[in-house]
């Protein structure tokens, strides 16, 4: 069973990957004739302001989303792990967003941003909130909000399962030593859940660099190209813009970035884990 599966995987995952790499050195439009053009696609990418802007936006977005998601989900997990009432019920509610599809959630928040927030913004006298945020230069905030909203659920659960592995006796010892709650968190809790921090960071960076669904649904990359992420650019230009080979080069570059970042993260974060444990 393993060998047939490996062959299928090779045919439908590795072959397209290698084809992508192959075509990135050609000038194929997705149809018709093609010839080798060496590295010219790659050189062109670095001069192309559309691509440059898409990368800048994607990095900016992924960094902010990763920080926000990790800080907030750790906070919610700490709260859920405290001695609270309705613990299981609240845990279930905070995990619910994970179950709901990106497309529908995007549409629901589209409505909220377009029809509910502007009147509230007007009555509060905040100009930035008085218009549909998705139609302005601040559209990224709307997309970021929805992305964070959905990603929190999964990361919170991972942190929560990490917190539950922490031995409670350690806190009792810390209490005896008179440690403050911040001290308890920074010297006991956080080092002990370091492996969970690693999982979350790697998953976050990877998925946010790929951000696609929310943008297609909420802004379609606009206004103008203000929220065009690199995945959206590859999709739009690769399929509709006759830039098959050129966007393949773009995709290969994206792969290199994701792979390098993930390995770096794993390496740095695991070293840190080793040091504290």
């Amino acid at each position: 069973m393993t060998i047939p599966m490996a062959i299928l995987f090779f045919s439908f995952h590795t072959v397209p990957f290698l084809q992508g790499v192959f075509y990135s050195f050609t000038n194929w439009k997705g149809y018709g004739r093609w010839k080798f053009v060496g590295f010219s696609n790659y050189i062109h990418i670095f001069k192309d302001s559309d691509v440059g802007n898409a990368y800048l936006f994607t990095f900016f977005f992924a960094t902010l989303a990763t920080i926000l998601v990790n800080v907030l989900s750790l906070l919610i997990a700490l709260c859920l792990n405290a001695n609270i009432k309705f613990k299981n019920g609240l845990k279930a509610i905070f995990f619910l967003p994970y179950m709901l599809g990106n497309v529908i959630i995007g549409f629901i928040f589209n409505f909220i941003f377009a029809n509910l927030l502007p009147p509230i913004g007007k009555s509060l006298g905040i100009p930035a909130l008085s218009v549909n945020i998705l139609g302005t230069d601040n559209a990224w905030i709307g997309v970021l909000f929805v992305t964070v909203w959905q990603s929190l659920a999964f990361n919170t659960l991972i942190y929560l399962s990490g917190l539950q592995t922490v031995n409670q006796d350690l806190y009792e010892a810390a209490d005896l030593d008179g440690a403050s709650s911040w001290k308890r968190f920074s010297s006991i809790t956080f080092p002990l859940i370091a492996p969970f921090f690693t999982i979350n960071m790697v998953l976050c960076i990877k998925s946010f660099l790929m951000v696609f669904d929310q943008i297609m649904v909420m802004t379609n990359g606009g206004p103008g190209s203000a929220t065009t992420s690199i995945s959206v650019l590859i999709f739009k230009r690769g399929f509709q813009g006759a830039q098959f080979a050129y966007q393949s080069a773009d995709a290969v570059l994206l792969f290199v970035i994701v792979a390098v970042l993930s390995f770096l993260q794993l390496f740095v974060l695991q070293k840190r884990e080793d040091k504290v444990l």
Binding site: M1, M5, A6, L8, F9, F12, H13, V15, P16, F17, Q19, G20, Y23, I76, C79, A82, N83, I84, K85, F86, N88, A92, I93, F94, F95, P97, Y98, M99, G101, V103, I104, I105, F107, I108, F111, N115, L116, W149, L157, I158, S161, T165, E172, D175, F196, K206, L209, M210, V217, S231, I234, F235, G238, F239, S248, A251, V252, L254, F255, A259
Partner: protein
């Protein structure tokens, strides 16, 4: 302070419920999670003339929205498509990927081939779908798998990297003596796997079930690039495609959204404990 008095204080502290944190969490949940869902339900039940005060309860409940949305989006067909993809992908993923995990987990140390395959699959985790998307669509249309069964097949194959990681990790925690005992009793490899090993894989199967179902049911990008014919669309994709027609009638649109969300919400209400436990298990095993 003696030991016993310390224990006493400590058990008291454990029993004390932290109301500020409880209230904080409830408020956050109401504003950010309940409110959007409440809004969806309310708007789905309203008449367009009743939209002046959006958040208020409907003056008259209008179920016609659901009937219209049902017909316009061809809900039964899209539901059947999505359901077929999810169930087929799930069953075949569980059977094939667990076998791969078993074979790799048991042979990784002995065989260089299996060790290579392990790292081959795991390293594919770093290749995002967007990277292979353009050539894959060409290949898929060339071999005619740009349809429901084809996409199901691709889900099964593309799940391998993640599931190999999960299954192999779990298999290593099952004692090898179990295999040896079964082999001595005369079981061949298939019997060993299906009668002895597979029944012990419950917890990790739960994780794979949840991840696979949530992925295939809610996926947007793969149907978007692979399923071009209207009669093949999934629920998520059909919402995206019909968005243009909804633009003037929010009530119709929200009725349609709600119908897409409902199956997941119902399953979640009944299986919530099992789902969160499944995800948690997977995370700890990694």
């Amino acid at each position: 302070m003696t030991d016993s008095s310390y224990l006493l204080i400590n058990t008291k502290a454990k029993e004390k419920v932290s109301w500020p944190i409880t209230i904080f969490l409830i408020v956050i949940a109401i504003i950010f999670i309940f409110f959007p869902l409440y809004l969806t339900v309310v708007i789905a039940l309203k008449d367009p003339s009743d939209m002046v005060n959006v958040c208020a309860l409907p003056k008259k409940i209008k179920f016609q929205n659901f009937v219209d949305a049902w017909n316009i989006t061809e809900y039964p067909r899209k539901f059947a498509n999505t359901f077929l993809i999810t169930v087929l992908a799930l069953i075949l993923t569980i059977i094939t990927n667990s076998m791969v995990g078993f074979a790799i987990g048991r042979n990784q140390k002995k065989s260089r081939l299996f060790n290579f395959l392990y790292y081959y699959f795991i390293s594919a985790l770093f290749i995002p779908f967007n990277v292979i998307m353009l050539p894959l669509v060409k290949e898929a249309s060339a071999v005619h798998i740009d349809n429901i069964l084809g996409i199901t097949f691709l889900y099964i194959v593309f799940g391998l990297p993640m599931n190999t990681l999960l299954y192999t990790g779990y298999i290593k925690s099952i004692p090898k003596e179990l295999d040896e005992a079964a082999t001595i009793d005369g079981a061949n490899t298939w019997q060993l796997f299906f009668k002895v090993i597979f029944p012990t894989m419950g917890p990790i199967n739960a994780t794979v079930v949840i991840l696979t179902v949530m992925w295939t049911w809610n996926d947007f990008l793969m149907p978007l690039v692979l399923l071009s014919k209207p009669e093949q669309q999934t629920l998520q994709l059909s919402q995206y495609v019909f968005q243009g027609q909804f633009s003037t009638n929010y009530n119709l649109a929200f009725a349609s959204y709600l119908m897409v969300l409902l199956p997941v919400l119902i399953v979640y209400v009944f299986c919530q404990k099992w789902i969160t436990a499944g995800i948690t298990n997977g995370a700890i095993k990694q």
